[in-house]
């Protein structure tokens, strides 16, 4: 068991080592002494309490979107629409939060805003979900299209419906705002980390535990394993698919807690953009474990923050290249590790059976006599 865990962690370690190497090369290419840029990146992230707070802040939305992607993936669905789900949910959530009376206390205001955002996220996810469950239309295609529709709707809403030139909502009611973490950890002062971070971590652990143990969670996973067998045994496959996708949308939408509610105090166009995409990487790197998702989110958060920290000396774009390269590295490394463990349990070099879902887990091969 222990050996297995080491084997699962190995690719992450290798990828980070590779990342440091590439980072040095990039820094060198921009005329920096490699070690000094690295030190700068470290000080901007884990080296100081402020940097650490910023890392947690950057990681928070990724925790939600990573969990969201994981939930759908377990049902065999590829929720590539978290970006649009989060964006529209953030707009509506921000609007509702700004309209709430200022006197409304937090225990009432915050749940209202989060529930609204979650509902909107689920609603956006409903389109690909229902088309997939009822008609078999592939959710990737519909979700990408929905993303584009949301992309078009948002600026139009700001300029036309809201009549706002600044492309932002009004300030949210104080009751809807999540307090900063520096209230309890004073040394985080100045960083944007808010109570959304512990909320996100708890969500990941609770969500993964429910997926593992609750009836609905298990049936969602079973449908992802083999929908035909589930249908034959009387599980409502359509409804489980629908539920997984709606949950995924709702969870992705909760990322608004760390941006509009925990940081800016309003929603503006583009706030939180990119979290939906990074969530895919988080879920893939997390390898289906709550701890893995948390670590992966913090890892990607660190990269984002490190990019900002060295921005003055190494262009941000170079850091984007680094981030993308690292994700590819880890993905490749984990495939290698997965292959190693698959060869350990299975029989021959037969080709994998065709699967109608992208398989992050080692694809099943039929064990034969």
């Amino acid at each position: 068991m222990n050996d297995k865990r080491v084997r699962a962690l190995l690719p992450i370690v290798l990828a980070i080592a590779g990342g440091i190497l590439i980072f040095n090369l990039i820094a060198f290419a921009f005329g920096e002494a490699p070690a000094s840029a690295l030190r700068l990146a470290f000080e901007g992230t884990w080296g100081t309490p402020y940097g650490l707070g910023q890392v947690l802040f950057k990681a928070t939305p990724l925790l939600f979107t990573g969990l969201a992607f994981e939930v759908a993936l377990r049902a065999g669905l590829f929720n590539i629409g978290a970006e649009g789900q989060l964006a529209l949910a953030s707009l509506v959530g921000g609007l509702v939060a700004s309209k709430l009376p200022a006197s409304l206390p937090m225990p009432i205001a915050l749940p209202i805003v989060l529930a609204t955002a979650a509902a909107v996220g689920a609603l956006v996810a409903f389109i690909p979900a229902i088309l997939r469950a009822r008609r078999g239309v592939h959710e990737i295609i519909t979700a990408i299209m929905v993303n584009r529709i949301v992309d078009a709707i948002l600026p139009w809403t700001f300029t036309t419906v809201l009549g706002s030139n600044s492309l932002r909502t009004a300030d949210i009611a104080p009751g809807a705002a999540l307090p900063r973490l520096d209230r309890v950890v004073p040394s985080f002062a100045g960083s944007a980390a808010s109570f959304a971070f512990p909320l996100a971590v708890v969500s990941v652990f609770v969500g993964m535990a429910l997926l593992e143990r609750s009836r609905l969670g298990r049936e969602i996973r079973w449908v992802g394993f083999r929908a035909e067998a589930c249908r034959a045994e009387g599980i409502d496959v359509e409804r489980r698919l629908l539920l997984a996708m709606l949950l995924s949308g709702a969870i992705a939408a909760l990322a608004v807690s760390s941006t509009a509610l925990g940081y800016k105090g309003y929603y503006e166009l583009g706030l939180g953009a990119g979290a939906g995409w990074s969530g895919i990487a988080v879920a893939m790197l997390g390898r289906g474990k709550a701890v893995g998702i948390v670590l992966a989110a913090i890892f990607l958060g660190t990269l984002e923050q490190a990019g900002l920290a060295v921005n003055a000396r190494v262009p941000k774009e170079a850091m984007d290249v680094l981030e993308a390269t690292l994700i590819v590295l880890v993905a490749v490394a984990s495939r290698v590790a997965a292959k190693g463990s698959r060869a350990a349990t299975n029989e021959g070099p037969e080709p994998e059976p065709p699967r109608d879902k992208p398989a992050p887990t080692p694809a099943s091969e039929e064990a034969r006599s």
Partner: protein
Amino acid sequence: MRGPVMKIEDIAVRYGDCWSIRSATITLEPGVIHAILGENGAGKSTLLKAAAGFAPRVAGTVRIEDGRGFGAQDAAGDPKPQAWTNAIGMVHQHFMLVSAFTALENLVLGSEPTGSFGRLDLAKARREAEALMETTGLRVNLDARTSDLAVGERQRLEILRVLYRGARAILLDEPTAVLSPLEAEELYTTLGALAEGGATIAVVTHRMDEVLRFAGHVTIMRRGRTVLSRPITADERDHPKRLEDELTRAIMGGEPPPEASPPALAEDAEVALSIEDLVLVDAAGKRVLDGLCLAVKKGEIVGIAGIEGNGQRELVRAVAGLEPGVAGSIVLGGARLPAVRSTEDLRKRRRAIAVVHEDRHADGLMLDATVGDNLVLGELGQIDGPAAEAALIKRRIDRFGVNPPDAARRAGELSGGNQQKVVVGRALDRIEASPERALVVLGQPTRGVDVGAAATIHGAIVAAAEKGLAVLVVSADLGELRRLAHRILVLHRGRIVTELPPTSSDDVIGRAMLGMEDA
């Protein structure tokens, strides 16, 4: 074309922590059919793969000696000589054909004759293929789409493909598991002819009667070891019973289990299931079920025989409630079953009917889920808490002897026989606990399952009938039907054409399966 002599000496093969072969020694010589027998998971398939050079050996040598002078030798870990790859062809249990290709395209796949600039020369391929079919007597319609070919034809295509590549040794992994008895006989005739022509032939099988009738040499594997490997003399074939006993004991490592027999059936038992005029038209407009009628009494086991693809799968699915387009009536316990419109309807039907689908990988199991999850699939709503669930899983594992008895293991890691125990165990144990229980329908309950697991499953089927359930068994294994059933119905082109007593001979049943009603 004289085949090579393949000497496999004391090899060991390991996959991860699991020894697939601990010690195996076998010499495959050209001229006879070598049969390899053994329980699921005994290492038979792995032995073939080791001979073909696919399996990761950790010890031992495989020597290929050829009359024409090349002697390829390979100790564990050495790279496999090219001549080896060319000389030895393997036909896998699950066909490796591209179903969208024509037979000809599949035949030449991987060694296509090409013209200038790598252009595929199908005309040349056709000439070569036809010459090959002429010399071997194996016939396949080269222009048919592979997906339209019958199972037997696809198998012939696989063998042709191997020969086309120039193989003189052919290793077949459970080739008859998917064939009807007549097709199987045809296959062995072909293999026998190839062997006589000098090819080296090895066949992994579960069917004892095939070994007794066709094999010239038999090897038994048990738990990763070759426990018996010797020629079969013509003399012995005249007294098959004694040989069969010897082989069965070697397979089981002890005395064989008692054979199952159907329970006594009361004269006045009332009819539990009555199917009338069942019609199902598939997407291509073919009437896959064409006015099928049958009745099963309480406590009765009725067997359905038929050549693959005559409506067996659809019959099971229609009774299960998974074919929404089916017309006709299914009356269970005096009441006509309503059409299944929702999952709730399906669950209701499942409380009265237990179903085992013929393809356990497609419709029965979640290979990537645990054994425990598979054993309670679809039942979470009725189970009262994790403790009750664990107890239920343990009971089912114990009752059906699922091996290893580990609920947390991935179902895909079990051998085929144990996977089937999981599927059958779930269905039977659940229905026996249901107050509305009435019927059990099983499609190919012991396909690809070893003697020991089959005995367990047969025992459970008989036990279900003894409890008063009506049982419908669809099987391609006539021996199984003859042992288990009170009556055998023969399915042909979507309807029941004959009813026969279980004492009928293979020949009589086989002719009825072909639609010769006056047999």
